[in-house]
């Protein structure tokens, strides 16, 4: 069997009728065999755990094989939705996402466009500097930030008090902690987003820019009417990634720096579901929190995809 399956399947039914049952089986199974590795991985790592988490969200259990799973119906969901902690976490998740936007989309977009016009080496050096935070291990970055931001002997507070300003408890004052964590998460992201934007910006056909220039367009007009529309697929992609994953990216920093505190001011839905599952072994709560997050983000993802389809400009 060497002919391509796609071709065979495209034939009208009567002409494509196979000669024997084994041949027909072969034809039907071939695409599935090719797809099997990908499908199996998806099932084992995504869909089976998803189903299991859905099922566990209706039970009270602590993950011990020797302890019984007790069916509690919707209790886990009711408990979670009435807990003030959950409301804070959901609110914080939204703040994380909104707060990350400037650093994961706007700033990198500006950097990519401005550095585009820099000459050879300067551009490389500049972009390398911006990219460095990205390759520092998250836990290491978190610990360095902890030292820098320490209220009593941190570099930043020393500088503040040197300038005659009051010291700020960046990680221990509930009014500042969330902003601090958003900054650290965003600081790690700038490099990645800048890289994507620079690549997209570099692949814009220079003849458009040249043509516009000959017509007397100003640099701002070129940016507004040529670059930004052609960068729109990347802008929307990064926006969507920020919305869907932004709050997750902050997990390491929450875990290392604040543990969700002070006074729950930095917790979010992802930290909360990890804490329920592995901090206090409440699998039911953890799964229910996961399901709530899954449902919420599914709706958001669908909306984002629709937006992307409608508002993206492709160069072809």
């Amino acid at each position: 069997m060497t002919d391509t399956t796609a071709g065979t399947l495209a034939f009208p039914r009567d002409r494509a009728r196979p000669r024997s049952t084994s041949g027909r089986w072969h034809k039907l199974s071939t695409p599935w065999i090719y797809l099997a590795p990908a499908l199996l991985t998806l099932i084992v790592w995504v869909y089976a755990p998803l189903l299991e988490a859905f099922q566990l969200s209706f039970y009270r259990w602590n993950m011990l094989p020797s302890s019984p799973k007790r069916f509690v119906g919707l209790d886990n969901y009711i408990d979670l939705l009435t807990l003030p902690e959950m409301h804070i976490a959901l609110g914080n998740t939204a703040i994380y996402i909104l707060g990350l936007f400037p650093m994961s989309v706007l700033l990198p977009l500006a950097i990519a466009i401005f550095t585009q016009n820099l000459a050879g080496r300067a551009r490389t050096v500049y972009r390398t500097l911006i990219f460095v935070p990205m390759i520092i291990a998250p836990v290491v970055a978190a610990i360095i930030w902890r030292w820098v931001l320490n209220e009593d002997h941190g570099l930043l507070n020393e500088a503040l008090s040197g300038l005659g300003l009051t010291r700020i408890g960046f990680l221990i004052d509930p009014d500042y902690a969330l902003g601090t964590l958003i900054w650290i998460t965003g600081w790690k992201l700038i490099g990645f987003s800048t890289l994507l934007f620079s690549a997209a910006n570099g692949s814009i056909n220079p003849s458009y820019v040249e043509a516009a220039r000959m017509d007397g367009a100003t640099p701002w007009q070129i940016t507004r009417d040529i670059r930004i529309p052609l960068l729109s697929p990347t802008i929307l992609l990064l926006s969507m990634m920020t919305i869907l994953f932004g709050a997750q990216w902050s997990f390491t920093y929450i875990n290392v720096l604040t543990g969700g505190g002070p006074l729950k001011s930095t917790t979010n839905i992802f930290y909360l579901l990890w804490d329920y599952g592995f901090g206090s072994h409440s699998v039911g709560w953890s799964s229910a929190a996961g399901m709530i997050a899954f449902a919420g983000f599914t709706i958001i993802a669908l909306a984002c995809l629709r937006l992307m389809k409608r508002h993206t400009v492709y160069d072809n």
């Binding site: 199996l40 099932i43 089976a48 009270r60 259990w61 602590n62 993950m63 011990l64 094989p65 020797s66 302890s67 408990d79 807990l83 003030p84 902690e85 320490n150 209220e151 009593d152 002997h153 408890g169 990680l171 221990i172 004052d173 543990g259 505190g261 002070p262 006074l263 729950k264 804490d275 329920y276 592995f278 901090g279 206090s280 072994h281 409440s282 709560w285």
Partner: protein, 432 residues
């Protein structure tokens, strides 16, 4: 094919569920063939002298018991229970584990730890318990049976920076004895030196509840009464309100709850209430920088303090009689006079056998050189068991209590109302 695959996953799950059995039979009389046991230990996972001392003890034990091989499994203290649980779920039954007291009831009821009374012949057990302080043995008991054999532990003591005391015009020879004195000393340090006054190691992620419970119980409070939570009632609430007043007056610092030890070590904190296990590392940091001293934990007026314990007990989890015997031999070795001498001098915990304190063969010489251990030894007489929570949601309950305590002490709202809300929320998760 997909159906089969899902089926086999379900089957594997079912087998895992069935394979965990809990049999409580008496252990073998002796170890007559080579056996290997695992020892989950958190001192081994630390970067301090505790790891070396523990490794030495294990090595000595194996030299004395050639048939027994002990495999140390190092896990940090805040992860050790999850690790034991995960390994059990994966079918790798741990044999001996050093676990903290907050998980006591859960370990006894859900993890299937062996009660020593069921496993060890009566006389043999009684012989080993002789000389151990009864308040210590009491700590590892659930319903009258010893599941955890108290191993390394200490009570909260008040570390203070004598230099900051002098700078604030306080007398370092008269450390505060009551909370009222802590408050005025804290305010003095804050105002005159600009440094932080007082902080208890009670609110951080690895602190558990022992310092908080020691404070609350010293005022006569209780975190629970049977299955009814009482941490926001009466004297316990008064204790929390007292801490809140100290925060409002500036006597009690607002620093990173996860690292008050670092603040103390850097000389920026006047008074620090925490486990004596930190003593040797704090002394090392203070050397040449400031004078570190210790005092007993502060009292509420004339009420005697009720220090609770931090630290751990040893639990035997093995189900095989030979391994149980080997495990018990390890327990015996680690809680005997010689081991306690090492544990006290090298790791910094308390000896649970007070007869070795003045015995020149064991601790007498060391205690004479290190008088800082005295306040802690003196507190042992009033040792009060740290209260663990029951039921499948005990960790969640404990977390909600500590969240409530943090919010009541550091938050903006009314302390009483905050803690009472936490108590009502947490009560729903207690067994009925």
């Amino acid at each position: 094919m997909l159906k089969n695959f899902a089926g086999s996953i379900a089957l594997a799950g079912a087998i895992a569920t069935l394979s965990a059995t809990a049999l409580h039979a008496q252990m073998a009389a002796k170890v007559d063939k080579p056996v290997t046991i695992t020892f989950y230990n958190y001192n081994l996972a630390s970067a301090s002298a505790g790891a070396d001392a523990t490794r030495d003890l294990i090595r000595e034990f194996m030299a004395l018991n050639p048939n027994i091989t002990v495999k140390g499994v190092p896990v940090p203290s805040n992860e050790i229970l999850s690790r034991v649980q995960a390994d059990m779920a994966a079918g790798q039954q741990p044999d001996v584990a050093q676990l903290v007291f907050r998980d006591l009831i859960y370990i006894a009821n859900d993890l299937g730890a062996n009660a020593l009374e069921d496993m060890v012949p009566k006389q043999e057990l009684a012989a080993h318990f002789t000389g151990m302080i009864p308040q210590g043995l009491e700590l590892g008991k659930v319903d009258g049976k010893t599941y955890g054999l108290a191993y390394t532990f200490s009570t909260p003591i008040l570390y203070y920076n004598a230099d900051l005391f002098r700078q604030a015009g306080l007398d370092p020879d008269k450390p505060p004895r009551t909370w009222a004195e802590v408050k005025s000393a804290g305010e003095a340090i804050r105002q005159k030196t600009g440094k932080h006054g007082f902080f208890p190691g009670a609110y951080g992620p690895v602190d558990g509840t022992f310092v908080y419970q020691a404070i609350a119980m010293s005022n006569g409070g209780q975190v629970r009464n049977g299955n009814k939570l009482t941490f926001a009632d009466g004297e316990g609430m008064e204790a929390v309100s007292m801490l809140r007043e100290m925060v409002d007056s500036g006597a009690h610092a607002r620093i990173d709850v996860a690292s008050p030890g670092d603040t103390m070590a850097s000389g920026n904190l006047g008074m620090f209430l925490y486990t004596s296990a930190l003593q040797s590392s704090l002394l090392k940091s203070a050397e040449g920088k400031f004078e570190l001293r210790v005092a007993a934990m502060p009292a509420f007026g004339e009420k005697a303090t009720r220090p609770t314990n931090s630290g751990s007990a040893l639990f035997v989890l093995s189900q095989d009689p030979q391994k149980q015997r080997a495990s018990y031999e390890l327990l015996k070795f680690l809680t005997d006079r010689h081991a306690y001498t090492i544990i006290t001098t090298k790791i910094g915990y308390l000896p649970l056998r007070l007869d070795i304190v003045d015995d020149p063969n064991y601790l007498a010489g060391w205690v004479a050189e290190h008088p800082m251990i005295r306040p802690n030894l003196e507190q042992l007489n009033r040792l009060t068991a740290n209260v663990a929570f029951p039921g499948p949601n005990y960790r969640q309950v404990e977390k909600m209590m500590m969240d409530g305590v943090r919010e009541a002490i550091f938050g903006k709202g009314d302390a009483v109302k905050t803690l009472q809300t936490a108590q009502t929320d947490a009560q729903r998760l207690m067994p009925r």
